[in-house]
Symmetry: C2
Subunit: 389 residues, 2 copies
Amino acid sequence: MVFTDWPAPTSEHLSLAEPFPGDRPLRLSSGAPLAPVQVAYETFGRLNDTRDNAVFVCHALTGDSHPARHHADDAPGWWETMVGPGRPVDTRRYFVICANVVGGCAGTTGPWAPGPDGQPYAGAFPEITVADMVGVHRALLATLGIRRLRAVVGGSLGGMQALEWLLRHPRDADGFAIIAATARQSADNLAWNAVARYAIRSSAAAAAGPAREAGLREGLGTARMIAHLTYLSERSLHRKFGRAPRRTGTRTHPSSLVQGDFAVESYLEHQADKFLRRFDAQSYLQLLGAMDHFDAFAVPDRLHTLDVLPDVLLYSFTSDRLFGPEHSEGIRTELAARGLSARHERDVTSDVGHDAFLLEVPGFLAVADRFLRGVDLRSGTLRDGLVPS
Amino acid sequence: MVFTDWPAPTSEHLSLAEPFPGDRPLRLSSGAPLAPVQVAYETFGRLNDTRDNAVFVCHALTGDSHPARHHADDAPGWWETMVGPGRPVDTRRYFVICANVVGGCAGTTGPWAPGPDGQPYAGAFPEITVADMVGVHRALLATLGIRRLRAVVGGSLGGMQALEWLLRHPRDADGFAIIAATARQSADNLAWNAVARYAIRSSAAAAAGPAREAGLREGLGTARMIAHLTYLSERSLHRKFGRAPRRTGTRTHPSSLVQGDFAVESYLEHQADKFLRRFDAQSYLQLLGAMDHFDAFAVPDRLHTLDVLPDVLLYSFTSDRLFGPEHSEGIRTELAARGLSARHERDVTSDVGHDAFLLEVPGFLAVADRFLRGVDLRSGTLRDGLVPS
């Protein structure tokens, strides 16, 4: 595959750390070394004097280090409902950290970064895993002098990171909130990612020479549409679009056979266009691969090393056709088999699908808020009971 | 879009008719004339002396005129469970006719056919509708000297043809079996077709000059994968593949990021490959467009012109994520509002999704058998009560 250049985002609130400098490489799960590793992150709120009020927010497939606004004029974040003053991850109470994952394309080292020859890695970037993402997050925390978190919170791929973190490093946090996630992708999940890869691969293959980059990106548009549809529900699509016609001026091809007549089609085209302006095909392939190979309980966990187990919240949405309740229930069962009793709460009120975790769903946000307040209380009374990390 | 040549299928059992010769064009729903129109069809069983035992079988999106074997050594058909000796559409009892739809690529006039300039129509083929498909089927029947059918039977797009036929020409048959179909595509259905079109369009656009044809076809592979997944259920995918690894020898790209490691992915690639050998991208765009624009009850029906209404069976599968029970129930409700009381039966035993209508689902086949036997009985006793066509 060809190189796709990708500019690192710039923001007054974006910080860069280099937990793995050139002479101290990160050893990836695959065994491959990676250096240097730069991490793009943002923080919200203040770290308290006892340095024990930090919450790490893990982002989903196409997220970045910007979950929320830093001030009224700031660009909106991807999780404004969850993170902010008065929100469950309350930036008045917590020191909130969010970092772009390794392999991503929003500032943290990924396929866009220059490799050993000074040219971007592109397709030569080594395969990363969810464990690698968590490893880089932990290295960032060490850089920041944070030895323990109040909580790790994430949805979708972010929830998979939170689950990985819980199983492999359970002493790192008092609470783990794993939302609309899975312990391993189902055949159906794998299948949709397979189509996305095929679209990217075949579109790039169809184009020759310098056009290959364009091909790669055209395929990424298809991949985004597929993913976007798995994030929505039949009902939300019906409510938003029904069979409403495409608005005039949204047509780029003269034939309605080649570009259809309905509003839902121009909406998806718009989603693809927006995505192509902010995402890199090589990063997308990396993150799909990490999701596909994630199998949380396949390797030994360290839960048994703890006397007091952290609080765990599992949350799912009944209308989610990507990681519905059966996925969270699967995590609950497997955690229980390892002696960790977790709550699994299901939202039945929202019918908007997987994306519900990013939206204003009052019941969900109330549960997340209660969970974090419970973690706070328990952290205060039980901290001494926890094995120090 | 570019021309894709497509060979007409050859089979000793395939017949060709030309209901619309060059000097007597078909007037399409769009108003455009189309001539000549050739129809590829197959027949099974024998037309009785009273010429009233004919059953028309309508095929789905990518079907053809070959629903069943003609003899033991023949190639298997796409609906062997439904059509054949001792099957619900019993070829010992009925004279069965099945024809490739207009706009298709299996012998009936479509984008592959030569246009006025002697070159294939390709993207210049006029837009066809489900009503046009039914119109051409009816013209074929006239050519064959069949004035009335015992039944029209179809699933998916075939069921949409059966519904169209019922509403616009209810005197044509004593019974209509409309299986796993819809009166109009939902926003979700439209959305998946939109992604298919985007994949075909963008893949063709990525390729320049002579490579455009390849691009068109690469995109068609993606489109097929998407459609195929909507025909299956999460459960059937889990049962068939789970997270089993790809078998060795099925890899064509060295990187597992670009071509993943799981069996479900190589299965989908295989489906795409098979499809590309038998289907034409321009036909596919035509048929998607016809499905998207189909809105059965949007134009006046002729049900009110009958004294005695035909028997109608609506059948759906609960595991169908394309046209689930709510689609068939919608048809039932709208038919009831027009005074036609139809049975809507749901299969809850099969968990294999939309494709269940093509498979050995005993309950479903028993219902279809009972329905057709009921139509036979009623046809014998009530024929005189029906307004002659």
